[in-house]
C-alpha cells in the first residue's frame, strides 16, 4: 500500500473537484428542500414525504401482503392440513374401528378441508355490537366459537369469555368469569373477545409484524410468522390473545373443514391466536358463528361503513359504549342496552342453561 503523503498533484486536484461537486450537489439539494418547504402546500408535501413503510422495503413482507402469494400459501396449507387431519383420523380409526361413525365422519371432514385466502372486500369495515340487556350468559357463543375455529381442546383456549357483573357498576375487575348459574336478575352478562380495535396495541408491539389489521378492520395473526414472544398478550387490555402452550389437538371428527389461512387453520405449537370474527365466514358474506348461534339474538354484526347495516342502526338507535375506553384503543366491538330485557327481573334467578 502506498503511503498517503506521496499523492500526485493530479490526484489531489481530482479529489478537490469531487469535493466541490459534492458541495454543489448538497447546496442544490438544500436549496430545493428549502424552496419546497417554504413554497409548497404543507399537506401535499407531507403526503409526498410520507415515511417509507419498512414493510415495502422487505421482499417477504410485500409478498405476504399480495393476494396471490397468500393464495399460494393457502394451497400449500390445504395439503398440510389434510395430511395432519388424515394422520389424526387414522389413529382414531385404529382406536374406534374402521366402521365407527366417528371414523367415517373424521375421514369425510379431512377430505373436505379447504384453506382459503379470501381477500378483504374494499370499502368494508366490520364491527360488532352486543345487547347487554338481552344476553343471558349461556356461553353458547363461546362453545360455538371453539367448534367453528378449530381451537385446541387440551388447553381450554376460549376466544370468548363471558363474565357476569352486578348491575350497579360495570367494572371488569369485579366480574365473575366462573359463574355456574345464569341468568340472574341482578346480573349483567358481558361476553368479551377481541375488540378489533382501531389502534390495536397488539399490532404496535409485535416485533416481527406477525399480527396486523386488515383493511376490513379484522386484526389477524399470521401463524407462520409469529415468534411466540407473547408481547401482544401483555399489551392487550382485553385479554383477547391466547397462546398455544403446547401442540394443539382438535378431534378429527370435529374439525371444521372450512378454513382461512389467517383464521381457523389448525395452529402450530407456541404461536398466538385470537378471534378473527370468523374470517372464513364473514369474508364470504356470512356472519360469525357466535352471532349465528346466539339464542336471544344479542349479537349484531355488520359493515360500519354501510348506513343501513344493523350495527349502524343499533348504535344510532340506542347509543353504544365500549369497554375500557381509557385504554385508548378505540374498539370496534360495541355494547349497548337494548329496549327489551331477557334475563328475568322478578322471581326465580335461574332457568337459563349453563355449562
Amino acid at each position: 500500500m502506498a503511503p498517503p503523503e506521496r499523492r500526485e498533484p493530479q490526484a489531489e486536484a481530482r479529489v478537490d473537484e469531487t469535493r466541490r461537486n459534492l458541495l454543489k450537489a448538497a447546496a442544490v439539494a438544500g436549496g430545493a428542500s428549502l424552496i419546497s418547504f417554504v413554497a409548497l402546500d404543507k399537506q401535499k408535501l407531507r403526503a409526498v414525504l410520507k415515511p417509507v413503510d419498512l414493510g415495502d422495503l422487505v421482499g417477504e413482507a410485500e409478498a405476504a401482503e399480495s393476494p396471490s402469494e397468500l393464495e399460494r400459501r393457502a394451497q400449500q396449507k390445504t395439503i398440510e392440513m389434510r395430511k395432519l387431519c388424515m394422520a389424526e383420523a387414522d389413529e382414531l380409526c385404529r382406536r374406534e374401528g374402521e366402521n365407527s361413525p366417528a371414523c367415517k365422519e373424521a375421514r369425510r371432514r379431512c377430505s373436505m378441508i379447504k384453506v382459503k385466502a379470501t381477500p378483504p372486500k374494499p370499502g368494508v369495515r366490520f364491527a360488532m355490537a352486543l345487547d347487554v340487556n338481552k344476553c343471558i350468559g349461556c356461553r353458547r357463543c363461546a362453545y360455538a366459537c371453539v367448534m367453528e375455529n378449530n381451537t385446541d381442546r387440551l388447553m381450554h383456549i376460549e376466544w370468548i369469555k363471558v363474565v357476569s357483573v352486578r348491575r350497579e357498576e360495570l367494572e371488569i375487575l369485579n366480574t365473575d368469569w366462573q359463574y355456574k348459574d345464569a341468568p340472574k336478575k341482578d346480573m349483567v352478562y358481558i361476553p368479551m373477545a377481541c375488540m378489533h380495535c382501531e389502534d390495536p396495541p397488539c399490532v404496535m408491539v409485535c416485533p416481527v409484524v406477525a399480527t396486523f389489521k386488515e383493511p376490513d378492520g379484522i386484526v389477524v395473526v399470521d401463524y407462520d410468522r409469529c415468534i411466540g414472544c407473547r408481547y401482544c398478550m401483555t399489551a392487550c387490555p382485553y385479554g383477547a390473545r391466547h397462546f398455544n402452550w403446547r401442540r394443539p389437538y382438535v378431534p378429527p371428527d370435529e374439525i371444521n373443514p372450512n378454513m382461512h389461512i389467517l383464521g381457523n387453520v389448525i395452529r402450530q405449537p407456541h404461536v398466538m391466536e385470537k378471534c378473527t370474527w370468523c374470517i372464513q365466514r364473514t369474508r364470504d358474506g356470512g356472519v360469525p358463528a357466535c352471532v349465528e348461534v346466539c339464542p336471544v339474538g344479542a349479537r349484531v354484526f355488520g359493515d360500519l361503513n354501510d348506513p343501513e347495516s344493523p350495527v349502524r342502526r343499533v348504535i344510532e338507535e340506542y347509543g353504544a359504549f365500549v369497554l375500557k375506553p381509557e385504554a385508548g384503543t378505540r374498539p370496534r366491538f360495541f355494547y349497548f342496552f337494548g329496549p327489551a330485557r331477557t334475563p328475568p327481573k322478578e322471581g326465580e334467578g335461574g332457568g337459563g342453561s349453563t355449562q
Binding site: I172, W177, M204, V208, G228, E326
Partner: protein, 421 residues
C-alpha cells in the same frame, strides 16, 4: 509450567484470552467451571428437549405449558431475571466512568472487569430471551429481517446487541494493551466512554420502555418504571462486581484492589439504593393515598399484601428491609471500611435488588390480569432448571473472561510499568 510468548497482533490477544481463561487454572477453578457447565448443559437440555420439544423435536408432548405461565400470566421468571441482568450489565459502566471519565487510577485497574461483567450478563439476558420466546429459530430469522420499529422489543434487541458489541470491543482492547504492558491510549478510552455510557443507561431505559407504555398493565403504566430500573441497577451491578473483586483478591495471588475503589463504589451503591427506595415511596403514595384505577390498586394489593401470591409481598418487604439495612450499614464507618462489612453490604444490596426487580416487577402486572382474573403464578421445576442453567452459562463466561482480564491486569499493573506510579 512453560511461559508462553505472544505476539502483538489482535489474533494473539484472542489466543491469550482463550489460553489464560481455559488452560491455566487451578483445581478449584476447573471444578467451578465444570459445575457451571454441567448446570448449563442441563438447563439447555431441559429447554430443548422438554420445554421446547414441540419445536426442536417436533414431538406431540412437552411444550411451554410445563411452565407456570398461562394465558393470564404471559411472562414469568425468565423475563423477571432478564430485567435484573440487563440492569447488572448496564451498571458495568460505573467502573468505566470512574476509570475513563474521572481518570481514577484504582478504577482504571479494574474497569475491564466491569466490561467482562457486562458481557456475561448480556449473555444471560440473550439466553433468557431465547428460552422464553416460543419459536426461537423463527425469531432469529425474522427479527432482523422484518423489524417493527413501533415495537420496543426490537429497540431493546438493537441496543442490547450494540451494548454487547461495545463491551466486547472494550474488553478486547483493554486486554490487548494490558497484556503487552502498555497503558490504554486516550484515542480509545475517550470515544469508548462517550459511546458506552449512553448505551448503558439506554439498555435499561429501553427495557423499562417495553413495559411502561402499556395501558393494559396499569401497575407498569407509570413513567417512573424506567428510572426505577436504572436506579436499582446502579446498586446491584456494582455490588456484584464488588463481590467478584473480593473473590479475585482472595484467589488470585498478588491481586489487590485500591481501597478507594471500594469506598467510592459503596457510595454509588448507597446513593442508588436511596433513590430506588424513594421511588418506591413515591409509587406507594400514588397508588394508596387517594383513589386510583381499580385494576392498578388490585395489582398493587397483590404486591403489598400478597392475597393470592404471598411470595410477592414477602419479596417486596425484603426489598425495603434489606435496602434500608444496606444504606444504614454504609453509613457506619467501621462497617464500610472492613472487608466483612463490605461483603455484607454487597450481599444485602444484591438480595434487595433481586427482590425489587424480578418477580415483584413482572408478576403483579398479570395478577389480576386485564379481565380481573386471579390466576396465580408459581414457577415450575422446568423454569427453575432452565433459569439456573442459563445463569450458570453466563457465570461461566464471566469466570473465563475475568480470569484472562485479571492476568492482563497483573501483567500491566502489578508486574509491569503500571505498578510504579
Amino acid at each position: 509450567m512453560v511461559e508462553r510468548r505472544y505476539g502483538s497482533s489482535w489474533l494473539d490477544t484472542i489466543k491469550y484470552i482463550i489460553y489464560e481463561g481455559l488452560f491455566t487454572g487451578g483445581k478449584a477453578y476447573y471444578l467451578a467451571l465444570l459445575a457451571l457447565l454441567l448446570m448449563g448443559a442441563y438447563g439447555l437440555y431441559v429447554w430443548m428437549f422438554v420445554q421446547h420439544a414441540p419445536i426442536f423435536l417436533n414431538s406431540r408432548y412437552g411444550g411451554m405449558y410445563l411452565t407456570g405461565m398461562s394465558d393470564s400470566v404471559g411472562w414469568g421468571m425468565y423475563i423477571a431475571f432478564f430485567i435484573y441482568w440487563v440492569g447488572v450489565a448496564a451498571a458495568g459502566i460505573v467502573f468505566g466512568l470512574g476509570a475513563y471519565a474521572f481518570n481514577h487510577k484504582g478504577f482504571k485497574k479494574i474497569a475491564v472487569l466491569g466490561e467482562a461483567q457486562a458481557v456475561a450478563s448480556l449473555i444471560i439476558v440473550l439466553l433468557l430471551i431465547a428460552v422464553d420466546v416460543g419459536r426461537p429459530l423463527r425469531a432469529m430469522i425474522l427479527m432482523p429481517q422484518l423489524p417493527n420499529l413501533h415495537s420496543m422489543l426490537d429497540w431493546d434487541f438493537i441496543v442490547i446487541s450494540s451494548y454487547l458489541t461495545i463491551n466486547l470491543i472494550g474488553y478486547l482492547v483493554t486486554v490487548h494493551y494490558y497484556r503487552q504492558d502498555k497503558p490504554l491510549p486516550l484515542k480509545f478510552t475517550v470515544p469508548f466512554i462517550i459511546i458506552a455510557a449512553p448505551f448503558a443507561i439506554g439498555i435499561h431505559t429501553v427495557t423499562g420502555f417495553i413495559s411502561q407504555a402499556l395501558t393494559a398493565r396499569p401497575i407498569w403504566n407509570s413513567p417512573l418504571l424506567a428510572p426505577r430500573y436504572v436506579a436499582t441497577a446502579f446498586a446491584a451491578g456494582p455490588a456484584t462486581l464488588l463481590l467478584a473483586l473480593a473473590l479475585a483478591e482472595k484467589y488470585v495471588k498478588g491481586f489487590k484492589v485500591d481501597p478507594d475503589v471500594y469506598k467510592k463504589t459503596l457510595l454509588v451503591i448507597a446513593g442508588a439504593l436511596v433513590v430506588g427506595l424513594y421511588f418506591t415511596l413515591s409509587e406507594t403514595q400514588e397508588i394508596y393515598w387517594y383513589t386510583t384505577e381499580p385494576l392498578k390498586r388490585a395489582q398493587a394489593n397483590e404486591l403489598y399484601y400478597g392475597y393470592h401470591l404471598p411470595y410477592l409481598a414477602i419479596m417486596f418487604y425484603l426489598w425495603i428491609a434489606f435496602g434500608v439495612a444496606a444504606v444504614l450499614l454504609t453509613l457506619i464507618p467501621r462497617v464500610r471500611n472492613s472487608r466483612t462489612g463490605l461483603i455484607l453490604i454487597s450481599v444485602l444490596t444484591i438480595i434487595a435488588v433481586i427482590n425489587e426487580k424480578t418477580m415483584t416487577i413482572v408478576v403483579p402486572a398479570y395478577v389480576p390480569d386485564s379481565l380481573g382474573r386471579y390466576i396465580p403464578y408459581y414457577p415450575t421445576p422446568v423454569e427453575y432448571a432452565i433459569t439456573l442453567g442459563m445463569h450458570a452459562l453466563g457465570i461461566a463466561v464471566y469466570l473465563v473472561l475475568a480470569k484472562a482480564a485479571i492476568e492482563a491486569i497483573m501483567t500491566h499493573y502489578f508486574r509491569g510499568s503500571g505498578a510504579h506510579h
